[in-house]
């Protein structure tokens, strides 16, 4: 069996692509790489003006590589035809660049709803033809009915359309239609300087603003061949864990609220607010937006802030423990969560599902451990893992991660090194890639800079790309009324996916 390194060796290795290698390969090697998907994990698939790029993970060997295929003719051999997780990524590539995945079965548009006034905004822009109405997939059988939901939902949530086909109360098929939040972020990236590009990255998915800006900063630093100062790494880790903590707390409450258990929501929301206020007092912004910048961080914390973070950890431990107990002892709540929305482990593995979605379905993957970066290489933490794959398992993974994040915050506050918090990034060309663990899972950013350190191409891959399709699988056979519960337990990002 060829290794990832062998596959790369068969192509033309790009010098200066950091920290993981990239090669331009021929169609044959491209096909050979596709054949290995399933064993290797597809971590990203994105277009460029005359190329398609595919990021591959060899998880057991902790290797990552990018293979690129020249598609000057405007087509490339479809990955989605053999490996389903790539289908939506290919549809997006076609919408944005006009590149055609050769052999793809599903050729419907994905992000392009026929309303931009142009087509292929990142490729050769052209006049937009009127698009036919979007054909949803069929479901055949007696007594089936359809329920359309969205894009405007009943709660305070992002826009997206869900088309349910149900038999009575039971969901036979769910099909998602996304793209409503498409803002053209990758188009705005092109030509942007590092400051503006970092801001755009931080507005890709608001709940993961630290994770995205961290991923962008790391990609930029890799491209420019610099390293942030040690103290900056630790402060970034601190912010990433505060973000994870806040999101998990909010979601544990919200999932329980979707099972009509409002008390949990009320208590978790208070804890979440305390975390956001601590973040605000330490870094000057409740969501810590625009604090992680290429070269380091833009805000430092003093001894007083460190003491307040210690106090925060103490309060969280004290107040969260009775909530776990409450969850454990409320049978009516568990009646809704246990056995609901099961995602089977083989599917989670095949799609490379990141974060709590994967870890609740047996996929032991966490970039903080498996593709480690500072400060996590110096910290001690566990990665919780379960096999059940139901709503309950996803809640329990989050509970476990809350406890781990508290431990991490404690360690960071205790061991925070002294020194500078930022180095000025040099102005030069380069290519970089990064993989960072957001609360939702692994965020991948690929960045190419020109000699003025302006962005030539930046691709931001939210973990939701590989989680949204799994929600369709997890809801099958459940009742319609359990959809909000399942959806919230996944909590995929609409904006991060739609870009």
């Amino acid at each position: 069996m060829t290794s990832l390194a062998d596959t790369l060796a068969r192509g033309h290795r790009i010098a200066g692509h950091a920290p993981w290698p990239r090669s331009i390969v021929d169609a044959e090697t491209w096909q050979a790489a596709i054949a290995r998907l399933g064993e290797w994990t597809l971590s990203g698939l994105w277009g460029d003006t005359a190329f398609v790029h595919m990021a591959l993970l060899d998880e057991p060997n902790h290797q990552l590589a990018v293979v690129s295929l020249d598609c000057a003719a405007g087509t490339f051999p479809s990955v989605g035809a053999k490996h389903a997780p790539a289908i939506r990524l290919e549809r997006a590539i076609h919408d944005l660049f006009g590149l055609v995945p050769d052999g793809a079965e599903d050729t419907r548009p994905w992000l392009d709803h026929g309303r931009w006034g142009l087509r292929h905004p990142l490729g050769a822009r052209g006049e937009a033809p009127a698009l036919p109405s979007y054909p949803f997939l069929d479901a055949e059988g007696e007594s089936l009915h359809q329920i359309p939901v969205g894009p405007v939902h009943a709660g305070i949530i992002e826009p997206g359309h869900f088309r349910f086909t149900a038999n009575g109360e039971t969901v036979v098929r769910l099909e998602e239609r996304l793209g409503y939040a498409h803002k053209g972020i990758e188009s705005l990236m092109t030509g942007a300087d590092l400051t503006r590009a970092a801001k755009l990255a931080g507005r890709t998915s608001g709940d993961s603003t630290v994770a995205f800006q961290l991923a962008f900063a790391r990609a930029a630093e890799a491209a420019l061949g610099i390293e942030a100062p040690p103290r900056a790494h630790w402060l970034r880790g601190l912010m990433a864990e505060l973000e994870r903590l806040a999101n998990h707390l909010g979601d544990v409450g919200a999932i329980c609220n979707d099972a009509s258990f409002a008390m949990m929501q009320a208590h978790c929301a208070v804890l979440r607010e305390r975390v956001l206020r601590a973040a605000d007092s330490c870094f000057g912004h409740r969501l810590m937006r625009d604090v992680v910048v290429p070269g380091g961080v833009a805000a430092d914390i003093d001894l007083l802030a460190r003491e307040s973070l210690r106090a925060l950890v103490r309060t969280m431990r004290k107040q969260f423990a009775p909530l776990i107990e409450l969850y454990d002892n409320t049978a009516s709540l568990q009646d809704r969560t246990v056995g609901t929305g099961i995602l089977k482990p083989p599917l989670a593995r095949r799609f490379g599902a990141g974060g709590y979605v994967g870890r609740a379905s047996g996929r032991a993957f966490d970039t903080r451990r498996d593709f480690t970066y500072p400060p996590y290489d110096r910290l001690t933490f566990e990665v919780p893992l379960l096999d059940e794959g139901d709503v309950d398992a996803r809640i329990r993974i989050r509970i476990g991660e809350i406890e781990e994040s508290l431990k991490l915050i404690e360690q960071i506050v205790a061991q925070l090194p002294d020194g500078a918090i930022r180095t000025e990034p040099p102005v030069r060309a380069g290519e970089g890639i990064s993989l960072v663990e957001g609360f939702r899972g692994d965020v991948l950013i690929w960045l190419s800079l020109d000699e003025n350190a302006h962005v030539l191409r930046c691709h931001l891959r939210d973990p939701s790309w590989f989680q949204w399709p799994l929600l369709e699988a997890a809801i099958e056979g459940n009742i319609v009324a359990d959809f909000p519960l399942c959806n919230k337990s996944f909590n995929c990002s609409y904006s991060g996916h739609d870009l």
Binding site: G184, R203, G206, A269, Y494
Partner: protein, 178 residues
């Protein structure tokens, strides 16, 4: 569960007093609002939130309004599930072209009298996304906007001040705890 409930009874509430607002811009806008708004709405306001393509940051802070610290329902403000029940549409995001029709249809489904609040920097002028092919650029380019609340995202206290401007006389805002 019983223990938590008893604790809730014994402890003082977390809910905070909202200080009178000093934002000159907001005060000016509130003053311009038709007095009819305050007259028609009295002390009750039903809000339908619409995400017209935000990054979801604004949504997080809107949701925060329902926590015990801000407790927006004490002011008679509440979020409703349908535009047909709403007095106010609270719109976030730069209004993506893919969301424009849905936003317009939601507005048409809302019975009058109705008011539109554009929340967040993107909703006001498209923010960092303003030059994109995929956005219309502001809520005001699609709907008549009555009030803007700035921020990226605005803090919950700022959102609360903005919304209260719809139901309270602008100066002085006599906000007391229940």
């Amino acid at each position: 569960m019983r223990r938590l409930l008893f604790q809730g009874l014994a402890r003082p509430p977390l809910t905070e007093k909202i200080e009178a607002d000093t934002d000159a811009e907001l005060a000016l806008m509130a003053a311009k609002l038709d007095r009819a708004a305050q007259k028609a709405l009295g002390r009750s306001l039903s809000i339908r939130e619409i995400d017209a393509g935000s990054c979801n940051g604004c949504e997080l802070e809107i949701i925060a309004l329902t926590n015990a610290f801000y407790d927006l329902e004490r002011f008679g403000l509440k979020f409703v599930a349908s535009p047909r029940h709403a007095d106010v549409l609270l719109v976030t995001g730069p209004v993506t072209r893919n969301m424009r029709e849905a936003l317009e249809r939601t507005y048409r489904s809302t019975p009058g009298p109705k008011w539109v609040v554009a929340l967040g920097d993107c909703a006001i002028d498209g923010g960092i996304f303003s030059t994109s092919y995929a956005v219309t650029g502001s809520v005001a380019s699609v709907l008549p906007v009555d009030l803007h609340i700035r921020g990226c995202p605005p803090r919950p206290s700022d959102i609360l001040h903005g919304l209260l401007a719809l139901i309270e006389p602008p100066k002085p805002p006599e906000l007391t705890q229940p």
